[in-house]
């Protein structure tokens, strides 16, 4: 855990996004899951897009992509937004108010089993 904000490194990650600092999908959250659509991995145009599509073969969160790719969450969200626009990836996002009692019960059972 690093509790002190620090300046970004020498390589500015937003170069990867063409200088954009916000995603076409502004609703993406850190825990939002994304999943590569079947047979769409070939749509990738850049190394970073290829990496995202390869990691998202199974549902994976924006935060996990950020951790594995060593890129800030915002940069990942922009890459993902582009891939959604290209029809290469889909988003699993759940509004927290839609989380039902049955889901909480399953979570409690899972945590109790730890």
């Amino acid at each position: 855990m690093q509790d002190t904000p620090r300046p970004l490194g020498l390589i500015r990650p937003f170069i990867l996004t063409g200088g954009r600092t916000s995603s076409t999908r502004s609703g993406l959250r850190w825990e939002t899951l994304v999943e590569t659509l079947a047979d769409r991995a070939r749509l990738a145009k850049t190394t970073e897009q290829r990496t995202v599509l390869s990691l998202a073969g199974r549902p994976i969160s924006i935060a996990e992509l950020s951790a594995y790719m060593h890129l800030p969450t915002q940069v990942v969200a922009i890459l993902v937004g582009d891939l959604v626009d290209m029809g290469a990836i889909r988003i699993h996002q759940t509004d927290p108010v839609e989380v039902e009692l049955s889901a909480l019960t399953r979570m409690i059972e899972r945590v109790r089993a730890l």
Partner: protein, 198 residues
């Protein structure tokens, strides 16, 4: 890496977020690691910060806009094929308020870890969660060298509402972290149940 089933499908997978907040060194990462099925990962959130014009020493400084990153450790617990829990460890001190909107966006609830030697480290977080209506519980982390404070004193020091659970815990102990998360989950069940019309 994901442990969900191999084939892409039309199945919708729900991811839920929980926040473990507290001051430096209070045991957030240990907590995340106790629950996570993988070694805690580190993500970086980049943000543009407008300096408030006053530095840490109270001196007036110039107004500046800078981009900084804040590293956060997080973990994952797969419940089943359609449900995944994420836990994010997050700094609770006032100087991190600029990132809390992103932090709690979509979060179901928060465990605030209190170090009784530095109770003030979580004042800002508690105020913020209360204002935003985010359900939270307060775990008073007991270190060997610290005197135990009566929980009522901690409750009073933090100005907590009566409905906020406060309990002693030890973040180094996996069972204790599990129990703290269960207190939060039970609180969410209570809240949800009370919303259902009878």
């Amino acid at each position: 890496m994901s442990v969900l089933s191999d084939k892409p499908s039309n199945r919708h997978v729900t991811a839920v977020k929980f926040v473990i907040a507290g001051g430096f060194g209070v045991g957030k990462t240990t907590f995340v690691g106790a629950i996570s099925e993988v070694e805690p990962l580190t993500t970086e959130a980049a943000m543009t910060v407008v300096a408030r014009g006053v530095d840490d020493h109270g001196a007036v400084a110039g107004t500046a806009k800078t981009t900084t990153t804040v590293a956060m450790d997080f973990g994952r617990l797969t419940v089943d094929d359609t449900l995944v829990m994420y836990l994010f460890g997050a700094p609770g001190q006032a100087r991190f308020t600029f990132m809390w909107d992103d932090l709690i966006n979509g979060a179901l609830g928060c465990v605030v870890l209190v170090d009784t030697r530095r109770v003030e480290d979580c004042f800002a977080a508690v105020d913020y969660f209360e204002k935003k209506g985010l359900p939270f519980v307060v775990g008073v982390n007991c270190f060997d060298s610290t005197a135990r404070y009566p929980l009522d004193d901690v409750r009073e020091a933090l100005g907590l509402s009566p409905g906020v659970p406060v309990f002693d815990m030890d973040a180094r102990n996996k069972a204790s972290c599990r129990d703290a998360l269960l207190v939060l989950l039970e609180l969410l069940v209570t809240r949800l149940s009370s919303k259902v019309p009878s």
